[in-house]
């Protein structure tokens, strides 16, 4: 199952076009990741061994506005030896439409890094085991 983070948009998330700027989606996903990591690795500061992002792909499906209520759904979609993939979806609900609507899908690949030498290293079995808590395949849930 996915990890859920609720977010209320703020004025600084909006832009002059009247909706939430696409850059805010990335900030919300970052906040959701921080909350997820705090749950999975409480108190861990990711230094000197930490994570770096290698690639992020995002599809923007719907706009969202200041008074929408936002949910970020985060799950591990792949766990490899040296890298793992997180999928994050931003969903909105609103007073006049309580059915959640999906606004974006992001897939991010992270790898473990030793910041002492700035080189990547294997994730390690302990880390991978913890990540499995929120490993999820939405297709399996639907079938």
């Amino acid at each position: 199952m996915y990890y859920l983070t609720k977010i209320l948009p703020q004025v600084a998330d909006t832009n002059m076009c009247g909706h939430v700027d696409c850059l805010a989606f990335a900030r919300w996903c970052d906040r959701a990741r921080a909350a997820l990591y705090e749950e999975l690795f409480p108190g861990f500061r990711f230094l000197p061994h930490g994570l770096v992002v290698v690639n992020v792909k995002t599809d923007y499906l719907r706009e969202t506005f200041l008074d929408d209520r936002i949910e970020v759904r985060t799950w591990t979609s792949r766990i490899g030896e040296k890298s793992f993939e997180l999928t994050q979806e931003v969903w909105r609900t609103r007073d006049d439409d309580p059915t959640p609507a999906r606004c974006s899908v992001s897939v991010s690949v992270f790898c473990a890094i030793d910041f002492n030498v700035h080189k990547s290293e294997p994730l390690g079995e302990r880390f991978r085991e913890i990540l499995r808590k929120y490993q999820w395949d939405p297709e399996e849930s639907r079938s």
Binding site: D30, V56, K57
Partner: protein
């Protein structure tokens, strides 16, 4: 042809890992794309007609640090009927650190539908077209 922009990172761009946080790259890419947004509308009026972001992809190659300016190269890598793609490279100290691709589509907000790219904007996009493999 691509255009080049120079930017100075700031301390607020960094995170506790000691490098520039990758969210800052998207910020910078957007900041220098304003030149293309102004080709669409010189006074950045996107009220009825605008360009919406459909898709982004960023690949992170090398960490970026606050100590030195960065150079961003921006060009148009694809022009379709209503959508187009902007590619941007982030360079620091002569090394390519990240590549971002953003796909936009021209949108009519009055009817909530995409629309064809207008001729004068298409001309502007062609001005910034570049093929690094050529």
């Amino acid at each position: 042809m691509y255009y080049t922009s120079s930017l100075s990172p700031q301390v607020a761009d960094t995170d506790m890992q000691g490098h520039v946080n990758f969210l800052a790259y998207s910020n910078w890419f957007d900041r220098v794309r304003i030149r293309i947004y102004k080709e669409f509308s010189p006074d950045l009026n996107f009220h009825d007609h605008g360009i919406v972001v459909l898709h982004t992809e960023t690949t992170f190659i090398k960490e970026v640090y606050v100590h030195h300016d960065v150079e961003i190269r921006t060009w148009v890598s694809m022009i379709g009927r209503s959508s187009f793609e902007v590619t941007q490279e982030l360079w620091q100290q002569g090394e390519r650190c990240a590549v971002g691709k953003t796909i936009f589509c021209a949108f009519d907000f009055t009817i909530h539908k995409s629309e064809p790219i207008r001729p004068n904007f298409r001309d502007a996009l062609e001005k910034y077209s570049y093929d690094p493999t050529a």
